[in-house]
C-alpha cells in the first residue's frame, strides 16, 4: 500500500493568485507533494503551462487538471476538467443538472470547497448554498481548507470543524464522499504543519500515473486528512482493523510520533461512539464494534478531543456485508 500526498486546491496568476504556474509547480515538487491539482477560478488557462513546467524542469510531480468553478452559491472543485464551461445556467435549487454538465466536460471528481465558509455578504459566494437533492453527484468534500494556516480564528471563519462533521454525517448515512484538504494557495504558503491529503493507493496504481490514481482513490473514498500518521481502516463483522504508518517525514512525524498521547474516536452508523487510547507504535489497532454496524468514521487526537488537537481524520471504513 502506498500513501500518496496530494495538494488539490490551488491558484496562480491565471486567476487571483500571486504565484506563477511555474512557481507553484516548483513549490509543490520541493515540498514533496507528488500530485498537484491546478484549480484556478473559472479558467483552465494554466494547465498547459503546468504540464510544460513539469516536463521541462523534470519535476517529480503529476498534474490533475482542474478548475474551481466559482459560482454565486459556492465553490465547486472539478478535477479532470480540460476546458471550462459556462455556469450562467446554474440553478442553486437544482444544481444536479450543472454537475452532470461538468461530468460531460471531463470532470472525473467533483468536490465542494470550504462549504461552511463565512459566506455572503462578507465573503460573497464562498459558502455552499446550493440545495443538493442527489448527493451521488458529489465525490468529495474539502473538510480542511488550510488557507489560513494554523489559526483558530481562521479555522472558524472557514468552518472546517463543521465541514468535517458534515462529511462524517453524510458518509455514515451511506453517501460515497471522500474527505480531502486544500491549501487553497493564493500566495506561497507559510511552512506550517497543516492537515494534508493522502490518497491510499495499491502499489500497481502508484507505478502508473499518480494523478489518475489519486482521482481513483477519491472516487473510492480511499483518502485521509492528517498532519501526522497515515492510516487505513478495514471493517468486517464488527471488527475494525486500522493500519497506522508513522513513516511520513512531513514535519518529522516519523521522529515525533513517539511523543504524542493518542486518543482514537470511532463513530459508527448505529450511533455508537468508541473512544480509546491506543498504542500507535505497533502499526495496527484492532477495535471491536457492534456487529450490526456497517460504516465507521475515525478521528485521531493528541492529548484531548479538542478540534485543534486533531492529528488525523476523514478516515472511513465500510463493511459491505458481502
Amino acid at each position: 500500500m502506498i500513501y500518496q500526498r496530494a495538494e488539490l486546491h490551488n491558484h496562480t496568476v491565471e486567476s487571483d493568485g500571486s504565484m506563477t504556474v511555474t512557481k507553484l509547480m516548483q513549490w509543490a515538487d520541493k515540498h514533496g507533494y507528488g500530485v498537484i491539482s491546478l484549480t484556478d477560478h473559472n479558467t483552465c488557462s494554466g494547465h498547459r503551462l503546468a504540464e510544460a513546467c513539469i516536463k521541462d524542469d523534470n519535476l517529480s510531480l503529476d498534474l490533475i487538471r482542474g478548475v474551481e468553478i466559482t459560482t454565486f452559491y459556492g465553490h465547486v472543485l472539478a478535477l479532470g476538467m480540460n476546458s471550462m464551461v459556462s455556469f450562467t445556467d446554474l440553478d442553486p435549487n437544482a444544481p444536479e443538472r450543472f454537475f452532470k454538465k461538468l461530468r460531460a466536460n471531463g470532470a472525473a471528481a467533483i468536490g465542494l470547497a470550504h462549504p461552511f465558509c463565512l459566506g455572503r455578504p462578507v465573503m460573497a459566494g464562498c459558502r455552499f448554498d446550493m440545495k443538493i437533492h442527489d448527493w451521488n453527484c458529489i465525490d468529495y468534500i474539502e473538510v480542511f481548507n488550510t488557507s489560513s494556516g494554523i489559526n483558530e480564528y481562521g479555522e472558524k471563519i472557514i468552518g472546517n470543524e463543521t465541514a468535517l462533521g458534515f462529511w462524517e454525517q453524510k458518509v455514515l448515512e451511506g453517501f460515497r464522499l471522500a474527505a480531502v484538504t486544500g491549501k487553497d494557495i493564493h500566495n506561497e504558503p507559510a511552512d506550517e504543519n497543516c492537515m494534508v491529503t493522502y490518497a491510499i493507493l495499491d502499489e500497481d496504481e502508484a507505478e502508473r500515473n499518480r494523478a489518475d490514481a489519486v482521482l481513483g482513490a477519491i472516487l473510492r473514498q480511499r483518502t485521509l486528512v492528517t498532519r501526522g500518521p497515515m492510516m487505513y481502516a478495514r471493517f468486517r463483522d464488527g471488527a475494525l482493523s486500522i493500519d497506522v504508518d508513522n513513516s511520513s517525514n512531513y514535519f518529522d512525524w516519523n521522529k515525533k510520533y513517539m511523543e504524542v498521547d493518542p486518543i482514537l474516536v470511532i463513530r459508527d452508523d448505529l450511533g455508537h461512539e468508541v473512544s480509546l487510547k491506543p498504542d500507535i507504535k505497533d502499526g495496527k489497532i484492532e477495535v471491536r464494534m457492534d456487529e450490526a454496524a456497517s460504516r465507521a468514521v475515525i478521528r485521531l487526537y493528541d492529548g484531548d478531543k479538542e478540534f485543534s488537537s486533531l492529528l488525523a481524520a476523514g478516515i472511513y471504513a465500510e463493511d459491505r456485508k458481502e
Partner: protein, 152 residues
C-alpha cells in the same frame, strides 16, 4: 472591428450575469478587452448591512459580533465583478481577479493571464460579467472590446 463599448450602473444588491454579444468580422483575429467598475467598498453601511454581516458571523463563530468586529467585517466586504469570454460557445477564459480595472489581450499566438490563445475570426463573441456582489447604489461599470485585425 470598431471598439465596442458599453457602460451602465448597477443597484445595490444586484446578483446575476450580464451578457453582451457581438458578431465579429471575418478579418478579425484577436481582441483586447478592458473592464472597469467603481465603488468597490461599502460607502455608507446601514443597520441592515451591519445586521447581515453579524448574522454571517454568528453562523460560524457561535456568538454575536462586537461593534468593532462588525466594522471589520464590513471592511472585508467588496463589490465583485468578474469577466468571462466566449467565442461561438467555446469558453476562452476568465479575468477573475481582485481588481477594479482589468485589461486582457487574446490572440492566436498569446493571451493574457486567465485566457487561452484563440483566433477570433468571425462568429459570435460573448462577454459575460459575473456580478457576485454590489455593495452600493449606482455602481458604475464600463466594458470596452477592441478587435485586432489579422496580420496581412
Amino acid at each position: 472591428m470598431n471598439a465596442y463599448q458599453v457602460k451602465g450602473e448597477l443597484p445595490k444588491g444586484f446578483l446575476g450575469h450580464i451578457s453582451y454579444e457581438t458578431i465579429l468580422p471575418e478579418d478579425n483575429e484577436g481582441i483586447e478587452l478592458r473592464f472597469t467598475f467603481g465603488k468597490r467598498l461599502m460607502e455608507d453601511p446601514g443597520d441592515q448591512d451591519r445586521n447581515e454581516a453579524g448574522e454571517a458571523w454568528i453562523r460560524n463563530m457561535g456568538r454575536e459580533a462586537s461593534f468593532e468586529e462588525i466594522d471589520r467585517l464590513i471592511g472585508m466586504e467588496k463589490t465583485e465583478i468578474n469577466v468571462s469570454v466566449f467565442h461561438n460557445d467555446a469558453y476562452i477564459g476568465c479575468a477573475h481577479r481582485d481588481e477594479t480595472d482589468r485589461t486582457a489581450v487574446i490572440s492566436p499566438r498569446e493571451a493574457s493571464e486567465g485566457f487561452i490563445p484563440w483566433s477570433f475570426r468571425g462568429g459570435v463573441l460573448k462577454i459575460v460579467l459575473h456580478v457576485y456582489q454590489i455593495l452600493n447604489e449606482e455602481t458604475p461599470y464600463e466594458l470596452t472590446v477592441i478587435g485586432k485585425e489579422a496580420r496581412r
